[in-house]
Symmetry: C2
Subunit: 362 residues, 2 copies
Amino acid sequence: MTITTEQMRFWSPAVRELEPYVPGEQPKIQNLLKLNTNENPYPPSEKVVAAVQAVLANSADALRLYPDPDATALKHAIAKQQGVGVSQVFVGNGSDEVLAHIFKAFFVQNEPVLYPDITYSFYPVYSQFFNVQTKEIPLNENFEIVIEDYKQVNGGIIIANPNAPTSIALSLAQIEEILKANPDRVVVIDEAYVDFGAESAVSLVSKYENLVVCQTTSKSRSLAGLRVGFAIAQDHLIAALEAVKNSFNSYPIDRFAIAAAVASFEDQVYFVEQCNKVIASRDKLIVELEQIGFDVLPSKANFIFASLPTKDAGELAKELRERGIIVRYFNKPRINRFLRITIGTDEQNQRFVDALKNEILV
Amino acid sequence: MTITTEQMRFWSPAVRELEPYVPGEQPKIQNLLKLNTNENPYPPSEKVVAAVQAVLANSADALRLYPDPDATALKHAIAKQQGVGVSQVFVGNGSDEVLAHIFKAFFVQNEPVLYPDITYSFYPVYSQFFNVQTKEIPLNENFEIVIEDYKQVNGGIIIANPNAPTSIALSLAQIEEILKANPDRVVVIDEAYVDFGAESAVSLVSKYENLVVCQTTSKSRSLAGLRVGFAIAQDHLIAALEAVKNSFNSYPIDRFAIAAAVASFEDQVYFVEQCNKVIASRDKLIVELEQIGFDVLPSKANFIFASLPTKDAGELAKELRERGIIVRYFNKPRINRFLRITIGTDEQNQRFVDALKNEILV
């Protein structure tokens, strides 16, 4: 729709300039193979179903009552699974909300927040929303983060690890180097994809008072439909996030989401098993794609970032789409020759490879 | 916990000054009569249970996928029930989130937003959070909103109707007078309690390009545990809210909440029946309390605001609490002689009255 200049007078001036985030599409197509939003191909733990059934007991009478505004049961389950204290856990309505609160809590400073030029595209959006100054730090030619670049004056640092959409991970030693170089600023490690093979920085939380680790249940726990994310940090940083959260929305997580997420965190066996399946499928898919001629960046995520030297990536995405296979293509400088492909089941990955081998690249 | 000055260096300066909202407590006490947070005493529509069961089908496989970021099915259900167009509906994670987005979208102006001195205590919190200037307009001695006071220079107006915690409602004619007097500013009518006897301003949306009506499923639909709120306005104002929402969190409403809320909006018969029961119980309770000597403000909400000239309200709240009955007491100027009492079932209200008559006031 078109908004007239006259109608625009009602908007807050800063809101007229916003450039919102654009999520991967959620098309409603039959027999669609959806490899575009890094969802998990497996269902969540079966304990999730029982937990939600319990909320429905007695004609869903529990729904008439507000949820626990602190989601204490969920914080306990996360703390136990992560091996940290309950007061070191913050929870939110998806890690997107947790990240928004992080930008408000720590990054509204006189110096710019640093993040890579190629990374989660919501970071510049949060920055604009909360009037945070930013400085984008270019990845090197291999799409790697250069640690030395994060040793300059800043108002905070946020790094996705593994990075998205590149899929490349930093080591814990590299993260520690950044933490040590910035003792007066918060360093956020956004670990949305960490469970698929990277090292989590949660083990560093007790040692570094400036570290915030952010994770989500959307990918490795198959709960994208639920909207539960969390941050782990020392108490004094969690307190800032709670102050922000309680100035925005007292009850961000509903009764179903709390119950279902608790059940997921309590089923560690299923969690590990399912992550390992995705990792195995990824490594198999990479071999297959390399055989066809793709260059694939080294992935520690549940997606890969791949390019085919002989074919335009946008065209390739279009031809896949015509066959009901959706991958993510970013028409942006430096990465417009790549496709970001979510890891499916072995059968789904095979359908993708077959479409390339037998139809598109013949 | 205590945060040291040294630890505070990590916080954004403005966040160090925040004074967050404090929600009504959610105590875990046996046989508690909870009349403190304006929840509905009846369960939600039974159609809600079936809708959530459907999400759980096939081992809850649907949960691995992100929800529709636009919650289109929910917007359709609300539009149908409210008699407006789908593009006139905005949805959020509880009306608290919708209100937060409203403050950001419309009220960050050079002039102050106007609201009553006695009203929902989250308004000043949002204002501080988004750096919105404010001007509190005193209610008159009968705790009524004075329409003339809202005809002055402002950056927007927000009025809870019925107002909380007073329970007193404006007429549509009064609201129209405010809308006409402020053709260049957004006027928000926060109708959290409207379904218990007040007139909704939704019928005015097509006529006034500056009107935003905000409602919630938490009270009249018994879905406080679900976190679904919505706003209704002309398309050009909804577009501002969408720009703000998509700069903060793409997927604020989870799959359970979407399904359950849709089912609730589709069961209009149960909705009307249940609201009428609460209204009847309220009117009965007011008569009983007046007989004991209470002054009760004229309520169009699912709560009443009542004072007893012969007894300190804080003391009364304490004695009720000792008997497992919790009501809300605000230790604030002008209203510290009142209790805000949520309407329960007739049996619950009787327990409350009996405790007063037979134990506390003997």
